[in-house]
């Protein structure tokens, strides 16, 4: 069984839409409490949305996986009210590490790109 949410996702209003082996989709609407000092969506919120999809996708094979390194590219400012989706895909699945690409989309357009690598713990 996959875990589909956690306390941090609930705090931010992040909702799991899909989890399959190596894939996940997480969605959220940008609310006033997600804004930064410039009045736009906070980069930490966009990252957290992508990171949630990353965690679900990388833990979808039944082996516990923890993040080692991540990167985020911000393409476009996001405003309050926008509906966002983070789509995670597996770039590479190795025995002890794996890498994922997560697109953060608004209205079908990629507004930020996340790449993350996990360490996979050995099974039983």
């Amino acid at each position: 069984m996959h875990t589909l949410t956690d306390p941090y996702m609930q705090l931010l209003g992040l909702e799991t839409r899909l989890v399959e082996p190596g894939r996940a989709v997480v969605a959220a609407q940008v609310r006033p409490e997600h804004l930064n000092i410039h009045g736009a969506c906070h980069g930490g919120f966009l990252y957290s949305l992508a990171d949630a999809a990353f965690a679900l996708a990388s833990n979808s094979h039944g082996t516990a996986a923890v993040a080692l390194t991540t990167q985020m590219q911000y393409f476009k400012a996001v405003q309050a009210g926008e509906h966002l989706e983070a789509h995670a895909l597996e770039e590479h699945l190795g025995r002890r590490t794996a890498t994922y690409r997560i697109e953060v989309r608004s209205n079908g357009r990629v507004v930020a790109l996340f790449t993350g690598t996990v360490f996979r713990f050995a099974e039983g």
Copy 2:
């Protein structure tokens, strides 16, 4: 005058401790609502803490700065109750871009390392 908080920082319980030209310190305690599916502090929370210090430091010169790319290295799992501090230092200040190093520390130990580059808008 520097803006010392924003709605997203308030949602997460992040507190600004210091802002100086090119530097910032943001602090937080890890609470139950910051935990992930493994019961440890969520990577998105650690990133958001670092990102808040990054935003304050990179906007500390009076020129608006927005994140272009960031990287995060996770060294150690963080548990509920830990007191964290994110310390941002300027690695490089150019005319149109600048780069910052942010250490996330717990009990003086670096638990995660963030590197971020901003685009700096031209002044009036």
Copy 3:
């Protein structure tokens, strides 16, 4: 006219196969002088191959572009004799910055993944 090679590409034996607006392909064979202390292809060589494709693709629009930040993910060791191709695609084209994804492939398999962001100079 696009410049299709430079002294560093010649030193490493890198050959341009394609340059189109926002795209480039560079190829090379791994030779004994490209190996590292483990006897496999040096990570710096794989990066240089990807970086050459990144430079060609990001300079393909007639605006001079210079690298700001890059990331590299290594998936699989590469051996002497392998034929490699680096395929660069544009992830995002903005006015002053742009981001590219470069896959390093051997026999159709992605052995390393490069992501890079450039600063674009204003035109005349």
Copy 4:
């Protein structure tokens, strides 16, 4: 005993100055064959210099280490004739992974910053 050079370092003219547990320094002079299409030092050469120091530092503990992910920040264009040094320091040493910071310096100034994470193989 540490291996202090390899074929790729020799091709590029990279010279090891220091290897200690968790540390390394590699030096090079920028020559005409290291230049890019803009007539400045190629980003792949700067990366390769940093990567050589990264490899030496991460393999300095007697456990074989291979690169998983790396990042590079370019701060300043480098010209032919400049003398460069890459200084590698250990940010974090874990059982199965470790992270290094490598500064590329010219005349004492940091011209590029590299961060890299390795996977460490288990010992006999």
